[in-house]
Symmetry: C2
C-alpha cells in the first residue's frame, strides 16, 4: 500500500498512461507524503512551540469527490486532466509551549502542495487516543529526555512508576519472592463520574526472572495495585489498592497479603518454558500453490475471482476496504471495523474503569502485528506494509501489517443426480485480508474473506491472555473464574462494531428488514397452518434495531431502483445480525453511556463524510459517546433510497474458562454478507468442479472410484427411480 516513491502530480501530458506515479485517491499516504505533511505542520506552527505528532494518515476524500473519480475510473474515462480529489493528510499532534501548556490539534495538509489547509484545536473535554509515541511532557519531568527524545506514553508511565517513591513504597510492602521483578501494563484510564486531567493507569504484575528468559509470562503473578499517573505532569497521583477477596468478601478488599504471590503458579506459553513436552504427532499439512496465487495486486488494488477492491490502512481502524465491486458492479463503498469496547463485569471499584476502546483509545492500526510467513497464514502470501509515524512525525514503514492469501473452505456447492449418480461438486475458495492486533495481554485477529459466490465474511478471532487480578488462596469469585492459583480472570465482554457503507449498484440504497412470521390458521389463506409470512419493512428514518432470531430477521441492503430481472425484487446484499449479548453494564452506568453503540445490534444512519467511528472520535476518558453512531441515528434523517450506512454490532460475553489460560484458544465470530437477488443465478456456477489431483488416500487405502467427478461406485442405495416418461411416445 505504501510507496516510497515521491509523488509528483505536476505531470507532463501523456505521462499518466500507466498512472503509476500518481497515487490513487484511496492509496494510503506514502513515506514522502507523510514527511511532507510533517514538514508543513512544523513550518506552520513555527519555532515557538514543540510539536509532538500522534498520527499522520490519509484524510479520505469526501464521497462526492471520490465517487465522481471512481465512476470515471470504472468507465475508463480517466484522463491526465481528470480533476482529482484533493489529496490530504490528516495530522494529529500536540503543541507544547515552554510553560508545558499543551494543546491537541488536528490539521489537514494538502500533500501535493505541502500546505496546511485546515487547523482545528480539539476541545479540552476530549483526550487524544493513547499513542505509543506520545507525551513529551514526561521528558521534562523525568529529565531523561535528550533533545529529540519522544518517548511513548506507555514507556513514560512505566518510568514514572519506577521513579515514584509512592510506588516504590507500595511495592516494598509486598514480600516478592527472590528473582521476581515488577512489570507494568499501562492501560487507558477508563472513566468514571469524576472529571480528571489526562490520566494513565497500570495493571501490575511480577515476573519470574530466574529462567533468564525475558518472555517468561508475568500475568500469572498479579499484584493488587493500580498506579494512576497524571499523563502530562508525569506525577503518580495515587496508587489504588485492589480487592483480593472472594465470594465471601463483597466489596471489601480481602486480605492483601504481604506474601501476595506465594499462592500463585507459573503459566508459561512459550515453548522453551513449558513444563510439558510439545506434541510430536502432528504431521505437516502444507498448502501449496504451484501456479501461484489467483489474485493480482497493484499497489493497494486487489483483483480476484471477479472481485475488485482497494485496501487501505490507518492507525485507528487498521485495514479498511474500499470500492468493493464484483464483476464490474458496485457492492460496498467502504467496509471497516469501526470500534470495539471491552467492559469488565467485576463491580468492585476501581474495575469499573477497566473498559478499553481498542480502536478509539489505542488504535488497531498502531497495534497491528508484523506478520510472519507460515505462522499467520499458509499458502502463498502477499504482505502489505503501512506507513506509521513516530512522535517526531517522521514516516516509519511498518512491515507486513496486512496479509492476503487464499484458502480452501470445504465444499461450495454439490449436487448428485441420483438417477445417474453423477455428482458435481465445487470447492469454496476464499480470499482473506487479515490483520492481527496486540493490546497488552490480548490479541484480535480480523479477517475480511471474499468468496466465489459473491459473499463477504467479516471474521473476528479473540485470543491472547485473559486479564487477571489477584485473589486470595482458596477463594472463588462471582466476578470471574480462578484460572490459575491466585489469578482471577474477570468476566468481561467484547463488543464490536463493523461499519458497512453499502453501494449496491449505486449509492442510493434502502435498508429493508425481512422477517419470517407465523400466520394464524384461516380457511382462506392458511387452511392447514403450514404457511408463514415473509414481511419486508423498509427503514425510512435513521434508527437502531436489534437482532431477532425468533423472526429470522435479516437485513437487506437494497437498491430499490434496480430490480432483479428474474425475481422482480430489488437487488440486494443481506446479512443476519448476530443475536449476541449486548452491553451488560447498567444503562445508567458510565460504561454503557460511553458505548451507546453497544446497546443495539444494528444502526442505520445517513451517510456523512468522516462519520466513521461508532463510539465517537474521542473515547479515551470519555464520559459519554459523543458524535457516535447513536447521535447519528438520532438525527432522524431520511434513509430510504438515500446514501445510507449500516452498523453491525456483535459481541462475546467472555466468562473465562480454565482452558483460556495461560493463552486462550480462539473464539471466532463471523458476519456473512451475501448477495440476495443481486445476481440472476448462483454466481459460483462457473467455478470448475475439477478434481484436486494433489489429494491422497491414507496409507493402505484403495481407491474404488475412477477419477473425475463422475462417481461410479456401486451406490445401489442411490439407484435411479426409473425411466422418464416421453409424452410423445406410446407407453
Amino acid at each position: 500500500m505504501s510507496s516510497d516513491k515521491p509523488t509528483d502530480r505536476m505531470l507532463p501530458d501523456g505521462s499518466m498512461a500507466s498512472g503509476d506515479s500518481v497515487p490513487h485517491p484511496l492509496d494510503p499516504l506514502s513515506v514522502a507524503e507523510t514527511n511532507l505533511a510533517r514538514d508543513a505542520i512544523l513550518n506552520a506552527r513555527g519555532s515557538t512551540v514543540v510539536v509532538h505528532f500522534r498520527s499522520i494518515s490519509l484524510q479520505e476524500p469526501p464521497k462526492k469527490d471520490l465517487s465522481q473519480f471512481l465512476a470515471l475510473e470504472h468507465s475508463g474515462e480517466l484522463t491526465p486532466r481528470t480533476p482529482r480529489p484533493e489529496r490530504l493528510a490528516k495530522v494529529n499532534y500536540d503543541t507544547v509551549r515552554g510553560d508545558k501548556q499543551h494543546e491537541y490539534m488536528e490539521s489537514w495538509v494538502d500533500v501535493v502542495e505541502g500546505r496546511e489547509v485546515t487547523k482545528k484545536l480539539i476541545d479540552k473535554a476530549h483526550q487524544a487516543s493513547l499513542t505509543m509515541y506520545g507525551s513529551p511532557f514526561i521528558q521534562y519531568v523525568l529529565r531523561e529526555a535528550d533533545q529529540k527524545g519522544y518517548r511513548q506514553e506507555f514507556r513514560a508511565f512505566t518510568d514514572a512508576c519506577l521513579a515514584s517513591p509512592l510506588f516504590q513504597k507500595t511495592i516494598a510492602e509486598f514480600d516478592l519472592p527472590e528473582g521476581f521483578v515488577v512489570t507494568i501494563d499501562p492501560w487507558p484510564y477508563g472513566s468514571d463520574e469524576e472529571v480528571v486531567p489526562r490520566y494513565t493507569q497500570g495493571l501490575c504484575f511480577a515476573r519470574d526472572t530466574r529462567s533468564g528468559n525475558e518472555d517468561s509470562n508475568h500475568y500469572p503473578y498479579p499484584l493488587p495495585i493500580i498506579p494512576v499517573m497524571d499523563t502530562y505532569s508525569g506525577e503518580i497521583v495515587r496508587i489504588e489498592k485492589l480487592s483480593t477477596g472472594g465470594k465471601e468478601d463483597g466489596l471489601t478488599p480481602g486480605t492483601h497479603q504481604k506474601d501476595i504471590l506465594t499462592h500463585c503458579s507459573p503459566g508459561e506459553y512459550i515453548p522453551e518454558l513449558l513444563s510439558l513436552p510439545l506434541r510430536s504427532d502432528i504431521k505437516p499439512l502444507n498448502v501449496t500453490q504451484p501456479e501461484g496465487p489467483s489474485f493480482q495486486v497493484n499497489q493497494n488494488l486487489i483483483e480476484w475471482q471477479k472481485w475488485r477492491f482497494r485496501v487501505g490502512f490507518n492507525p485507528r481502524e487498521g485495514a479498511t476496504l474500499h470500492d468493493i465491486r464484483y464483476d464490474g458492479r458496485s457492492v460496498l463503498y467502504r467496509l471497516s471495523l469501526s470500534e470495539m469496547t471491552v467492559p469488565y463485569g467485576d463491580p468492585r471499584p476501581p474495575f469499573h474503569r477497566k473498559q478499553a476502546f481498542d480502536f478509539g483509545d489505542a488504535g488497531a492500526g498502531r497495534a497491528a502485528n508484523n506478520l510472519a510467513l507460515g505462522c499467520d497464514c499458509l499458502g502463498v502470501v502477499k504482505y502489505f506494509d503501512a506507513v506509521l509515524t513516530d512522535a517526531d512525525g517522521k514516516a516509519n514503514v511498518s512491515r507486513n501489517v496486512v496479509c492476503l492469501h487464499e484458502q480452501d473452505n470445504g465444499i461450495l456447492w454439490k449436487h448428485t443426480n441420483y438417477r445417474t449418480e453423477r455428482a458435481v461438486v465445487t470447492r469454496l475458495r476464499e480470499l482473506v485480508v487479515q490483520f492481527i492486533i496486540t493490546l497488552a495481554n490480548y490479541e484480535y485477529i480480523f479477517a475480511y474473506k471474499f468468496d466465489q459466490a459473491g459473499g463477504i465474511t467479516i471474521e473476528t478471532r479473540a485470543t491472547g491472555i485473559v486479564s487477571v487480578v489477584n485473589i486470595d488462596p482458596n477463594k472463588t469469585s462471582h466476578w470471574g473464574n480462578v484460572v490459575s492459583p491466585g489469578a482471577l480472570a474477570q468476566n468481561h465482554q467484547h463488543l464490536f462494531c463493523v461499519r458497512i457503507d453499502p453501494a449496491v449498484d449505486g449509492h442510493q440504497n434502502t435498508i429493508v428488514t425481512e422477517e419470517s412470521l407465523p400466520m394464524p390458521i384461516s380457511n382462506d389463506l392458511n387452511p392447514f397452518g403450514s404457511g408463514y409470512e415473509v414481511r419486508q419493512t423498509a427503514i425510512k428514518k435513521s434508527q437502531f434495531f436489534d437482532a431477532s432470531p425468533t423472526t429470522n430477521l435479516t437485513v437487506k441492503m437494497t437498491n430499490p431502483s434496480k430490480l432483479n430481472p428474474i425475481s422482480g425484487r430489488p437487488v440486494s446484499y443481506k446479512f443476519t445480525p448476530s443475536a449476541s449479548q449486548l452491553m451488560l453494564a447498567h444503562p445508567d452506568s458510565i460504561m454503557a453511556r460511553r458505548a451507546q453503540f453497544a446497546e443495539h445490534h444494528v444502526w442505520v444512519t445517513k451517510y456523512r463524510d468522516r462519520e466513521l467511528w461508532a463510539g465517537g472520535e474521542f473515547t479515551n476518558q470519555s464520559k459519554a459517546e459523543v458524535d457516535g453512531v447513536s447521535d447519528a441515528a438520532a438525527r432522524n434523517e431520511d434513509v430510504e433510497n438515500e446514501d445510507v450506512v449500516v452498523w453491525s454490532v456483535f459481541g462475546l460475553t467472555h466468562n473465562p474458562r480454565v482452558e483460556d489460560w495461560p493463552v486462550m484458544p480462539v473464539e471466532i465470530h463471523q458476519i456473512h454478507l451475501r448477495p440476495a437477488d443481486f445476481f440472476t443465478s448462483n454466481p459460483a456456477l462457473d467455478v470448475p468442479g475439477a478434481k484436486n489431483s494433489a489429494s491422497r488416500l491414507a496409507p493402505g487405502e484403495e481407491l474404488c472410484c475412477e477419477s473425475g467427478n463422475v462417481q461410479h461406485a456401486p451406490a445401489t442405495h442411490l439407484q435411479g427411480s426409473g425411466p422418464d416418461l416421453d409424452p410423445k411416445s406410446k407407453l
Copy 2:
C-alpha cells in the same frame, strides 16, 4: 468399518491377543454378520411368506453392558474371557403373504449364534421409512416382477405413474415442447388429518432431452401436478392439481396453462451444459501431507491428537460417533444427528404435505453419497465403507460413505509479547469425519470436527437444488421467490436435531445453564453499575428450554462429582445453543405436531436405551411425534447427577434467493462443544508453533523477517513499554 472376514467368537483361549477377529461391540455389522441375520430371518419366517428386507444394522448394546465393556477396555482389563455384550442385528422387513397382506416387522438376531432373539410386529398406525429397496407389492401389481425382483418404492412409483391412464391423460393435457420428457421425484406423502394407507407422492418435472445429456436439469421445468399412489396396491389414487398462481390469486389455482413450460428457462449446473464458460483464473491450491496423516485408524477406532473415538454407521443416522475420549478421559458416550424436518411454508394445499423427515422418512445412511478423492475433501483422506442391504436382505458394501481427513482452520492461539516482540502462534488443525447425503433435489453435508483444544464442532452445510413449483408468467408470490422464469422456490425451513449423550468423566452428569444477567446499581454490590451476574441453574427434571442470546445462555454438561482443581468448579463441556428460528408452522398444524422436537432449542432427557430419534421412530405419514424427544422430556424424570441426554435443535429458515439457483452455495451452521473447566489449562498449549515451511511469498515479494516465530520486523509501534522494576535493587 466393515470387514468381510466372517466373525468367529468361538475362539480358542489366547487367540484374542490381537483382538482382530472379534468385532468390537461398536463395530457395524460385517457382510457376513448381515447375511447371517438375513438367513436367520428367512429361516424363522419360513416358506409361507415372502420377506422383503428394509434394513439390517447393528442393534447397539444396552448402555449398561457396553459401559462395562468399555470400562474394561480402557483400563486394559479386557481378556478373552471377558463377557461381551450380546451382538445383535436389528432387522426390519415386511412379510407378505399370497393374499398381499403385508406386515411390517422388526426382529433382533444374535449374529454369533445366527438366531432370532426377538420379533415385533409394528402397529399398522406406523409406516416404515421409505426404502429405496422397498415394496414388493408393486411387483405383483405391475406384473413386471421376476422371481427375485425387489424394486425400490421410488422406482415402483415412477413405473406406476407411467402405467397409469390417469397420469397419462393428465400429462397429455399439457402441451410439452418437443424433446421434453416427464421426470418424477418421488417424495414421502407427508401427512394431513386424513388417515390413509401407505401412500407415495411425486413432484413432476419435464426434462429437455435435446442435448442428449441425461444430466440435463429437470427442475427448471416444474409441472403443476402431484400424483399420489397407494404404495402397497400400486394404484395411482389421484392426481392433485397445483396452483400456479401468484400474489393476486390467494388459494385459487392460477392459470393452468396448456403451454405450461413456455415461460420456463434452462437451469443447467453440469459444466458441459453451462451457457457460460468455466472460470479459468482459479489456480490450484493443494493440501499435501508429505509425512502422511496424523491420525491412526484401526477398523472403526480413530485416534488423533489425544482424541480417541469410534465411528459407526447405520441406515438411519449415517455416521455416528461413540465413546469419545480425550487424553484417556471420557467426554461423550454417543454423538449423532438425530432427525431433521423440512416443512414448506407455502400454505396452498397440498403443500402442507410437503414436509420431509430426512432421517426418519428416508434415512441419512441410505442416502449417503459415495465420496470421491479430491472432490469432497482435500489432503490425505481415509474413507469408510458401509454395509447396506438390498430388499433381498443381502449385504451390499457401499463404498466411501464416510471420509476422514485433517484440515487447517487458521490460527489456534497467538500472543505477542509487546515488550520483546516475541510472537508465539499455533495453527488450528482439525480432524473431520464427514458424510454427504442426497435426498432427490437436495444435499446435506454433515461433519464432526475435532480440534486440538478439546473442542468438537458439529457442522451442517445445506446445498443442492431448492424445491420449485410452477408459477404463471410475470407473477410473484408471498410464498417463495421466482428463482428462474416460471419456477417458484418455496420458502421452507430446515430444522435439525443433534443428540448429545454426554459422559463427562463418567455417566452421571448434570446439565447446568449459565446465564449472564444485568445487575441493578447498588451501593453495596454494584456501585458503578459495571457488574453483571453469572447465574448457574442445574436442570433437575427432564425438560426443554430455549436459546437465550440476550442472557448469553450456555449449556454446560457437568460432572458434579468432579471438581476442577484450579477453579473449584465441576468439570464440564459446554455449548451455546443457536437462537435460530424454530418451527414456523402453527402449533396446531399437523406439521408442528409431527415435529414437536422442533418447537424448542434444547431438550434434556434421562437416558434410555434405543431412545435415539427426536421425532420418534416412525415419522413417515406420522400424525404426531410419537415417542420422540418431547415424550421423553414429558416423563419429568430426575436428570440431576444422572445419565442424561441433551438434544440440540437448530435450523435455517430458507427463503430462497435467486443466487440459490440452479444449485445453491452452502449455508453453513455449526455447534461448538468446548471444554469448560474440564482441563487445568489450555489443552492446546503443547501444540508446536513451528513455522510452516511450505508457505511462499507472492511473486515479487521480499521477505522482511527472519524465519521462525520470533518476529524481527521494525515494529516500532510495538516497542517495549520500559524496563521492569526489581524491588530488591536500588532504583
